[in-house]
Assembly symmetry: C2
Amino acid sequence: MSSTNALEVLIQALRRLPGVGVKSAQRMAFHLMQHDRAGAEALSAALHDAAQNVHHCARCHTFTEDDICSTCLDPERDASRLCVVETPADQSALERTGAFKGLYFVLMGRLSPLDGIGPKEIGLHKLMERASDGVVQEVILATNFNAEGEATAHVLSEALKSRGLHVTRLARGVPVGSELEYVDLSTIAHALVDRR
Amino acid sequence: MSSTNALEVLIQALRRLPGVGVKSAQRMAFHLMQHDRAGAEALSAALHDAAQNVHHCARCHTFTEDDICSTCLDPERDASRLCVVETPADQSALERTGAFKGLYFVLMGRLSPLDGIGPKEIGLHKLMERASDGVVQEVILATNFNAEGEATAHVLSEALKSRGLHVTRLARGVPVGSELEYVDLSTIAHALVDRR
């Protein structure tokens, strides 16, 4: 492939995408060059536009093109409840349920000391400030239910409670539609403890 | 994710890459926005540059930024042997062996009537012209050894032989380093027939 430098540069650039190795990058580059030049130009423009214009919401820290995102500005939202999630994808999942009408705070990560991600990197100080605005009555921790997400929830919970805030966590239990026989034991144990 | 249009456009643009679904596209977009804006800009520039400057070599049909690629222009190459491959990736694999010093013709595809890819789409006419330049003595068919690659090799072979050209095919046989016990039976059968 030494015959074309532009193609080699493109393959190397595609490898910076998460989960894309050298074979996938080659396949993507050849596909775009052979079958979808318009797609290549569209992706080029979209990347440039997003890199220039997308930044963090000043209130909830999610991605937005404005100073404050449309969710934070929505007067229909219940400002007394603040839901803390790890990523915009998690926020999107919660939004799609239609079951939550409060506001969000997006950590843009989770505590992971081994990767050098501490309280500062996930914006703990900013969350404290946001949750202490006098309007927020309840902080709902919706970090993931894996080791790092649970650790993050624990640290946030301690910090928020020390400010006298009411902190809750999404319920753990048996997923809807599942049969007990096939549910893992620690989930059943949690569902037993948290029975209502 | 409705809060930011630029991000939504980027996710849709990423989905045009082969093998990228909506989850992967989201993950890629968030990764670039959160951790690698420079990568997003680099990929944007590389895509635009490649889409503008990469086209097909006038002689061998591979990707190049010049009119004729560096391989075709190399005077050290043995112009009497022409190797026909499906893609630049296949050409690259052959080049890395260091065992072939002739020239190439890249089909940029394979015969696949169900997908509407016929002799015209793989440049059969162009290959005929290229192989009939009076210098080429032998055409080596190095299409893949799957059904479509074999069918392509058959069609090309018939057409080239009708022009009186000497046509050969890469040898089928037992891969280097393999144990017979684990080699599939049709490969062993072919290796028996083609024994030397």
